[in-house]
């Protein structure tokens, strides 16, 4: 099993969700994040004092999938999130040892979906 974590632009979330559902990936967890990357933040000014805007709002998506779903999940995220501009984000894939459904106690592949 895999844990796929994507950092995307906030305004792409709806698109990414759509692509994921289209790829039959329906179970996801979303949270807020701030990112610092290659993307150039806009300087802010407060009472004339400059503040280098270096943390931009991002969305983090975590998805646990079976190996078989890894590729299509990654592809769906890319399809939904890509604008081709700097700041589109990253996808991180780690190995998921166990997955347990709290409600039933089921484990493994059956618990993932």
């Amino acid at each position: 099993m895999r844990l796929i974590t994507a950092i995307i632009q906030p305004h792409r979330l709806e698109e990414v969700k759509k692509e994921l559902y289209a790829a039959d990936v329906n179970l996801i967890t979303v949270s807020e994040a701030l990112g610092h990357g290659r993307q150039f933040g806009i300087d802010e000014f407060y009472r004339g004092v400059k503040e280098t805007g270096n943390l931009l709002r991002k969305i983090r998506i975590d998805i646990a999938v079976n190996e078989a779903f890894e590729e299509r999940t990654v592809a769906a995220i890319i399809k939904g999130a890509r604008t081709g501009k700097i700041g589109d984000g990253k996808i991180f894939v780690t190995d998921l040892k166990r997955c347990i459904r709290i409600r039933t106690g089921e484990e493994g592949s059956r618990a993932i979906g």
Partner: protein, 412 residues
Amino acid sequence: MNQPLPISAGDTAWVLICAGLVMLMTPALAFFYGGMVRRKNILAILMKCFACLGIILLAWAIYGYSLAFGRGNGFIGNFQWAFLNGVGTAPEPAYAPTIPHCAFMIFQAMFAVITPAVIIGSLVERIKFSAFLVFSLLWLTLVYIPICHMVWSADGWLRGMGVLDFAGGCVVEINCGVAGLVSALILGKRIGLTRPTLHNLPFVVLGGGLLWFGWLGFNAGSALAANGVAANAFVTTNLAAAAAAVSWATVEWLITGKPTMFGTISGVIAGLVAITPACGFVEPWAAMIIGFVVGPLSFFAVSTIKQKFGYDDSLDAFGVHGIGGFWGMIATGIFATTAVNPSGSNGLLLGNMAQLKIQFLAASFTVIYCAAATALIAMAVNKLIGLRVSAEDEIMGLDITQHYERAYTMLE
């Protein structure tokens, strides 16, 4: 004026505090609107509201008041009171014989401020700040001031015709509602919007509550004296707001299954809009009817008509102010009675069909004039400096791209 009229302390206290209440309405509106957009765009709304307070108060003092209320012709005033020259502490009998002239001027100033501020609701999340400044100054000059002159000034032709518009059904509500719709059409829809944008409903309610509070000054202050007419306007204003809140929520309950806070506060505003032209001319029972009717009307406009035609009148300036204001003008023609206000007229229910016609004519004229003039202004500004921010800026949010600042920073 050889012998200035005596000033009534009671009336002066009343009009000044009411002017304060109307001033408060613009920040209140800022929050009412600000809570409805995504958090990346709230400051851009607050900013435009305060920009109205800033530039329009100045414009009003410099030329606006004179053009609106100075003696010119039936359509526009003159420059007799430019730079408030001659607008001092002695009363101006043509408008308010018991209070300082400058008190009347500043009370009116706050109306001129909030009217373009309402239009912001149609343009949020995409209009360029500089374009809004130019637009709103042109609009003040070419739309608000003429309509205000025609309806309220001593020599306005609509006033001469006998139109009843106590606190601004034409001047404020229809005007801003229609202008909102027209400029939203020219501005175009927001990019890729698939979900509601509200980020803070409590702010909407805070703004709405303060708007109700301020509107009491807006409407009852329009009596320009602390008298029975003011008291009546105060009562009818509250009852219409209550009735429309209830009727909007009830319609929701029937149609979607539950009444919402957002709907209820929208109903409050719709009720306040509808009673605006009528409040000093109708009895309390009529106010309740006026309010009851406007709730479903506006609900239908924002939930069905807007969806159907697909225009992006983002926060429903048209659906609430345009529709509500038109209904209010008509309702005044139906329910008005001289029992409430001897200087008014009777309406349809008391056998005066003529008044209803006048109301309809004035409201329609306002719609047409405002729509045409607003379209010209918006297109001109668009040509000149462009109305919209770039797509990148729109996506990034207006706060950071138009104002180099962010509303919330939450790490420590």
